[in-house]
Amino acid sequence: MDEKTLIAKRVALELMDGDLCNLGIGLPTLVARYVPAGRNVFFQSENGIVGMSGPVAGADNPDLTDAGGSPISALPGAASFDSVLSFGLIRGGHLDVTVLGGLQVDEEGHLANWMVPGKMVPGMGGAMDLVTGARRVIVAMQHSAKGESKIVKRCTLPLTSVRRVDLIVTDLAVIEPTDAGLVLKETAPGVTVEQVLANTGCELILSPDLRPMPLEG
């Protein structure tokens, strides 16, 4: 199993029956494939639909796309709406969980994921609204990039929100930001605690319930 699949599978276990869930572009999109059997999860695309599903070959519709403009499909019971209602769901506390990629997460659980000054300024899109408004924010990302840990003492990149994220799932570990700091809760298959610590740019508190990362619900 590659690292992205591992992360997506682990994140999918966090989705509960009946949840309204928004997946960011890139890695988080994979999560939809691994929802545990028996859980009916409603996926929102912030451009204006609840009940989205993967594209159906030969049935692309130019009026039915995801937030990146790529074709999607919709399940029975889907509902479409405009951008203010879409973000009303996100900002009004109606979104149970959002899964987003990250550039950095720091010791306080702050996420930076929308720009690298001087290099890449895509814009925040809906990320600031999602992190500020969702009931639960899960960051799904590689633990390190180009040899540097993405989990740091203090974000050097511009923050997406000052709201503390709820869970960080990486290819090495599951980490929960708390009042006391970042708590290491799970290690990925074949990964030791020492490896996680060595690849993390700030202190981690070891959970008394530290366990191997489960990948099936």
Partner: protein, 218 residues
């Protein structure tokens, strides 16, 4: 009392330097005929307010490539490298706004509110230069309303009064932009006689729409 107007006449009303709300999300649900006609008529120095700048060769992304845009207020430019390039070169001014805030700012302009009080952006670079208001111990940014000289929108169906419907994710910013443009110009996939859209199916009531672009070429 038909609001039909030719594509050419519709765009001829827009002066250089105008501010334009443009519907669509990655150009899905965008007024792509109007955009192409803006280019043909070389309308320039435009201020564009839109969710994103699409892709270089798709929808309003083309306006950027054609260098007709002086300023853009948007939430995302990541899929149009031309916008980023012109921004870095100082040829285009870009105001980045969180998507939900952008939607609420346009709506607040359209419905006569003084602004939007939102927690989105508090403590981030979005807060810079803005007033904050404390309410019940929580901090909110005061984000100002957005209006524009024109709203250019795209509908699935329009009747001759200007009642509009949209399809699926092509609805997005179009309904709120219809509230916030001083002049609202709509293009539609289908134009139908008055009475063909049931009252409950109307998503933008006719009274908000000034012109419907005729389905004849140009």
């Amino acid at each position: 009392m038909s609001k039909l107007i030719s594509l050419e006449d519709a765009v001829a009303r827009i002066p250089d330097g105008a501010s334009l709300l443009i519907g669509g999300f990655m150009a899905v649900g965008g007024p792509n005929r109007l955009v192409d006609e803006l280019i043909r008529q070389r309308k320039s120095n435009l201020t564009i307010i839109a969710n994103d700048t699409a892709r270089p060769n798709f929808g309003l992304g083309k306006l950027v490539v054609e260098k007709l845009v002086a300023k853009v207020v948007t939430s995302h430019i990541g899929l149009n490298p031309e916008t980023q390039k012109q921004m870095i070169a100082g040829d285009i001014q870009v105001e980045l706004v969180p998507q939900g805030t952008l939607a609420e700012r346009i709506r607040s302009g359209g419905v006569g509110l003084g602004g939007v009080l939102t927690p989105t952006g508090v403590g981030t670079s979005v807060e810079e230069g803005k007033r904050t208001v404390e309410i019940d111990g929580k901090t909110y940014l005061l984000e100002l309303p957005i209006k524009a000289d024109f709203a250019l929108i795209a509908a699935k169906q329009a009747d001759l009064y200007g009642n509009l419907t949209y399809a699926l994710t092509a609805r997005n910013f179009n309904p709120i932009m219809a509230l916030a443009g001083a002049t609202v110009i709509a293009e539609a996939e289908d134009i139908v006689p008055v009475g063909c859209i049931p009252p409950d199916a109307v998503m933008t009531p006719s009274v908000l729409v000034d012109h419907i672009v005729a389905n004849t070429k140009r």
